[in-house]
Subunit: 160 residues, 2 copies
């Protein structure tokens, strides 16, 4: 049982933006922080924009940020949007008639119930919950609390 790479990346982008706070983030910055491809992220962030989670600011110094508070972004809702159909088995898809026992199948009903239990568990968590505590996550992603640049420490110059 796997979530798509697309869902995985979407959730990680949202976490990055929640940790970035008010600052704008670029695709290059997110790609570097997680060590993943910029090309993949372009599609992911475009879709997150269409879904209303992310807004983009164009131009020099531009980038993206969350368009809603992290407290109202519910994990279950994001996964329902990013997973193409949540079809655990082919017969979940509308109009599928490939299985002989479809019309009387208790397995299908049971799997539907289990999928709902999965999503319900995610409905209890918001994006804000995922980024607590902030400091260690910001550190791992090379983000500084409050978006401030780290203090610059001059290296002692070695003389030859």
């Amino acid at each position: 049982m796997r979530l798509t790479v697309y869902t995985d990346y979407s959730l990680r982008v949202l976490m990055f933006l929640a940790l970035k706070g008010d600052g704008l983030a670029t695709i290059a910055e997110i790609a570097k922080a997680y060590g993943i491809s910029k090309n993949h992220l372009m599609k992911v962030t475009h879709q997150l924009g269409l879904a209303g989670y992310v807004e983009k600011v164009r131009g020099k110094g531009g980038g993206m940020r969350l368009s809603r508070m992290a407290e109202v972004i519910v994990l279950g809702e994001v996964v329902r949007r990013t997973e193409p159909d949540m079809a655990l088995v082919p017969c979940f898809a509308l109009g599928d008639t490939s299985c002989a026992i479809l019309s009387s199948c208790a397995l299908r009903v049971t799997l539907f119930r289990a999928r709902d239990a999965f999503l319900s568990a995610l409905d209890g968590t918001t994006l804000a919950d995922l980024v607590r505590p902030r400091a260690p996550l910001q550190s791992l992603l090379s983000l500084r609390p409050g978006g401030r640049a780290p203090p610059r420490i001059a290296r002692p110059v070695r003389r030859a």
Copy 2:
């Protein structure tokens, strides 16, 4: 979110065998009933044998049957065995270090909890539950209740 084809087929084979009752079933018969490939089913039934769900009787007139009562075959256990690793995201796999925030990630913990909710929902269902009521499922799979052959009705012979 998808289960593997292998899990899907495994569950359907077990349902077929539970509906077949004491009779032996062949791969050809199961493949025909569901309209799926015999080659796929050979691997599936071999693994179900290794997992102790199915036993084979060799020789002419041989075939396979459940090696346990359907009432003690728990759906959640079967899925845990047939799904390769239940790794919703790559970082579920042991030893994976591909994500920068792994050490402090609440998303991973939340997804683990959701996966457990999914499996717990399946733990409440046995194979016996999946094949009730038997008659319509047996009919859809061209199995006759009790394993008896259907009454043969002589066709009127047309004379040229």
